[in-house]
């Protein structure tokens, strides 16, 4: 349905997209994931023929977008990052205009009504676009993309500006559309991609960093065993912490141990990584029993899409080519949480984290503040 071969875009010296190749089959929902400025929108603009590529080829339904743009474009419905809305028109007039512009042959009234119902904008059809809320504008933009029922839908951050209910609605809608359309959507909101897409392409610095299902990517990128432990020592002081860390490090198969924050009074969390295929849970349990400590929590941390995303985009680590990096000591550290479906980085006071292992891989301590934002623009 869509085939991209060695797509490259240069702006002067800046390489915005570098040699991207991928294929999307009919009925597939593909997610484009990447930090801001990774080249997602540039790629989408090239796919839709808004800008041309420096080199490479794009085939939409077998038609080259540069050789036969009109034919290729008639197969695409595009919702750009900023919906192309004429704010001085009413929703109805605008959709009518797009209907004419796309030379749609479907029965006009019925088709527009169907789309308005689908996007839930029937109640605002008579209103000026200028006066609509951002969520409604976004939906009008989506409606516009659906006109003429194009086999390929390209949606650039379709849920930006919507409230949580609307986000769920739009995701459901996209999933529904994915049954009859080929959909490419971009986002930096990870749960969204995970919830909607069959396949994910992670783009970083203009290159494809990973391609496959979330599980595929996860299995390629890691086979580390990590867990978080919460152990209650005997004295409830910082002395406990040192003792516990020292004891844990003595266990067989442990790669590194790091004491984390004090979560409960006098009780600390420990991040532990073991060597491959060594199950150390029982050994830890035995250790704690012998010493008279209590395990209050043991959580295996499987890699989530967030971890994969961060690993790829932060550490410059390509699948299969991991390299350990030591975080600079003077840089602020961040604690990452997922809040409302978005990554939130909060600064963590330096002294609460003790780096106890020299060769700890760059994983959850981040070097660069500005790369850390997962928020919307």
């Amino acid at each position: 349905m869509i085939e991209v071969r060695n797509l490259t875009k240069r702006y002067g010296d800046k390489q915005a997209v570098n040699d991207i190749s991928f294929k999307v089959e009919k009925g597939e929902i593909l997610g484009f994931l990447g930090p801001n400025g990774a080249g997602k929108s540039t790629t989408m603009n090239m796919l839709t023929g808004y800008i041309s590529s420096t080199s490479g080829q794009i085939l939409i339904n077998g038609v080259d977008i540069l050789e036969d743009p009109i034919n290729a474009k008639s197969n695409i419905g595009y919702l750009p990052e900023i919906p192309p809305l004429y704010v001085d028109m009413t929703v109805d007039a605008y959709l009518g205009f797009m209907y004419d512009l796309k030379k749609c042959k479907l029965p006009r009234k019925a088709h527009l009504k169907e789309i308005c119902d689908l996007c839930k904008i029937t109640n605002v059809r008579g209103r000026l676009i200028r006066n609509l809320s951002k969520g409604y504008k976004q939906r009008v933009g989506l409606a516009q993309a659906l006109i003429n029922n194009p086999p390929v839908l390209i949606l650039d951050e379709p849920t930006v500006g919507l409230d949580p209910n609307q986000i769920i609605e739009i995701r459901t809608l996209i999933k529904k559309l994915g049954k009859n359309h080929t959909v490419i959507l971009s986002s930096h909101i990870l749960p969204e991609i995970q919830a909607v897409c069959d396949r994910i392409i992670i783009i970083n610095k203009g290159v494809v960093a990973a391609d496959g299902t979330a599980d595929d990517i996860a299995s390629k990128i890691t086979n580390e065993h990590k867990m978080t432990l919460r152990i209650e020592g005997s004295t409830h002081t910082a002395e406990d912490k040192k003792e516990i860390v020292a004891a844990l490090k003595q266990l067989d198969g442990i790669k590194y141990v790091r004491a984390d924050m004090e979560r409960e009074k006098g009780v600390y969390d420990y991040d532990i990584e073991s060597e491959e295929k060594v199950d150390i849970r029982r050994a830890i349990n035995k250790l704690c029993r012998d010493k008279g400590w209590n395990i209050l929590m043991l959580q295996l941390s499987d890699l989530t899409l967030e971890d994969i995303f961060l690993k790829i985009t932060m550490g410059d680590i390509m699948p299969g080519a991991e390299k350990a990096e030591k975080p600079a000591k003077d840089k602020p550290k961040f604690d990452l949480n997922v809040k409302d479906g978005e990554l939130v980085a909060t600064e963590v006071a330096e002294e609460t984290k003790e780096v106890l292992e020299e060769n700890l891989p760059a994983d959850r301590s981040f070097e660069d503040e500005d790369k850390n934002e997962g928020g919307e623009e």
Binding site: T48, Y50, D88, M89, M98, L101, K102
Partner: protein, 234 residues
Amino acid sequence: MGAIYRREMGAFFTSGVAYVFLTVFTLLSGIFFFFGVITSGTTETSPLFSSMFIVVLFLIPILTMKLLSEEKKNRTDQGLLTAPIGLWSIVLGKYFAALTLYIIAESVIFIYSLILAYLGDVVWPSLLGNYFAMLFLGAAFIAVGLFISSLTENQMAAAVASMLALFVLYLFDSLASNVSIDFIRKIMLSFSFYSRYLEFTRGVFDLTAVVFFISVAFIFNFLTVRVLDKRRWG
């Protein structure tokens, strides 16, 4: 092309540009009609038309300033350029919308001619010749304005630059007369809009002038298409 043409016509009226344009055009042409024709006690309309050159020069940029600059600024050009239509359809749709509004404004001349017909004998061939001269002049000017609008995101910049460009075209004759090199003067005069337009007000229907204005319109529309095409390669 039809869809863009209809949208632009609608936008002229919803944005108020059409009302401003029609009002100012009617007002100024009315003034020139009254003082140039009525008070002189003739039915000779040439004074009106020769004055209208400068009115058209300053009014047309108001029509054309938003046509492409606003699209770029509001990113609505993404909708147009990713739709299954060619660049010529986009440019010509906008061009003909502006031209239509211009023709509507210009047709106020026929009201004046009715007034004249009531007062005396109208020289119809001369009047119609002038009418078409003004139409072709506008057709050329609109293409220039549309081209300049495609170069910027700022509609005020587009308007000012268009006025300046058209004003320079107007001054070409007087500039040329100050050029001592015969060869260059001839070239400059061959690009003169004003002297060509003036021929019509003298009652001469000059076919080469018509061809000239239409060629200018075509060339600038072509350049506009090139600008849109070039932007994709930027």
